[in-house]
């Protein structure tokens, strides 16, 4: 009965998508050089945004992490209010949230057993933060809107004024006007206010926002937290004997030659704990940094067609990396709560 009505429906969204693709192709290949994508400058350390609190510089990755934090806190408040409201069946967004938490809880319970209730909070918090940071990072505007800065080496681009809102001038950089940056010693000694007041000639964009996990400080902070909590839970579950894993004096005294070997293995365990921090930190950093680099470089080479699929890929990888971090910290922490003396009696 309703089919004729459905037939009349004009596929607006389809034409909108096609129009956006056509616009993108025009901007990338035929349009003025102003619209062309510019290949990015690869910077490893996070760049300061110019903001500072009590002399502490706020970098762009900190700003992005704060946004992820605020979103998480809003989500938590929403979930709390939902739980308080007494409704049993969650709808919409909270349904998805509940599904995620249920999945996480099942993973933790499968590996940790009776310690699951105590362990759950730490890996789950890490998961939610990393997940949110990885998703927030993919919003357009990240890594592309920022201050323009004079480059000291390499090729920058000339700035072009777009509009001015009151005292605020908006610029973009023009691919058609590459400018070779000349490294002069005078520029270094000139005061910072002067360089920001007078316009740069060979410019690069220092973004206001950059993905949190592209900063080693973020990933290593999480890694150190996870490994320290591993030790804390080990001591909580086993008491001081937990450290016998590292210093096997009992083995050394009455174990003979194999006791000596086991004593050496104990020291390897200490090194292993530090290797955990390293691999935790670099795994997340490497994946996300490489993903961001891939997106911006491929986006500069072929602006149309390929980047959407890479975005999908990045969404997938953001979830997988958050899950891997979660799973590894769960396994390490629950491994620390289990006494390994019981294995010897088998």
């Amino acid at each position: 009965m309703t089919e004729p009505v459905a037939k009349k429906r004009i596929p607006v969204k389809r034409w909108m998508i096609l129009g956006v693709i056509a616009l993108g192709a025009y901007a990338a290949f035929f349009g003025p050089s102003l619209l062309k994508p510019i290949s990015p400058v690869v910077v490893l350390p996070p760049e300061p945004t110019g903001l500072s609190i009590f002399g502490f510089e706020i970098t762009n990755t900190i700003l992005a992490t704060l946004i992820a934090d605020i979103l998480l806190i809003l989500l938590a408040i929403g979930a709390y209010r939902f739980v308080k409201s007494g409704k049993l069946v969650p709808g919409g967004f909270y349904n998805a949230f509940e599904a995620i938490l249920e999945f996480l809880w099942n993973s933790v319970e499968g590996t940790a057993g009776k310690w699951a209730r105590r362990i759950f909070v730490i890996p789950a918090t890490i998961f939610l933060l990393v997940f949110m940071a990885n998703m927030v990072k993919l919003v357009p505007g990240f890594e592309s809107i920022g201050r323009i800065k004079q480059m000291h080496e390499g090729t920058g681009y000339a700035p072009v004024k777009l509009v001015s809102l009151g005292s605020l001038n908006l610029y973009t950089i023009d691919k058609g006007q590459p400018v070779e940056a000349t490294a002069n010693a005078e520029g270094e000694t000139g005061s910072a206010e002067e360089t920001s007041a007078s316009l740069c000639t060979a410019c690069e964009v220092v973004p206001f926002l950059r993905g949190s996990a592209t900063d080693l400080n973020f990933t290593f902070a999480l890694a150190v937290t996870a490994v320290v909590m591993t030790q804390v839970f080990g001591v909580w579950a086993l008491g001081i004997p937990y450290f016998e894993k590292f210093f096997q004096f009992r083995q050394l005294i009455n174990g003979g030659i194999f006791g000596l070997i086991n004593f050496g293995v104990g020291f390897l365990e200490i090194i292993l704990e530090f290797a955990k921090i390293l691999s935790f930190g670099f795994r997340l950093f490497g994946n996300i940094f490489a993903g961001a680099l891939l997106l911006s470089i491929v986006g500069a080479l072929t602006a149309v067609g390929v980047p959407p699929f890479l975005y999908l890929f990045e969404v997938f990888f953001g979830i997988i990396q958050a899950y891997v971090f979660f799973l590894l910290s769960t396994v390490f922490i629950s491994g620390a709560t289990v006494s390994h003396h019981s294995e010897e009696h088998h």
Binding site: N106, V324, L327
Partner: protein, 80 residues
Amino acid sequence: MNDPVAFVAGLKLLGAGLAMLGAIGAGVGVGLAAAGGVQAMGRNPDAAPIIQTNMILGMAFAEAVAIYALAVALIIIFAA
């Protein structure tokens, strides 16, 4: 060879590229883990969740080697 600075910069990039050869082993390892996991899930679909968890765990450990290579490459380019 006339420009020693550019020569050293070029060698650095070459070294970073060579350091990433370490990713070969990790790639093979991750592939083997995935192959084993998929075969196991095909034989015993009921055990899929446990197999999946352990598969991802093994992949993460295999991947760690590639990550060390990446760390070395980044250090060569940016820090050394």
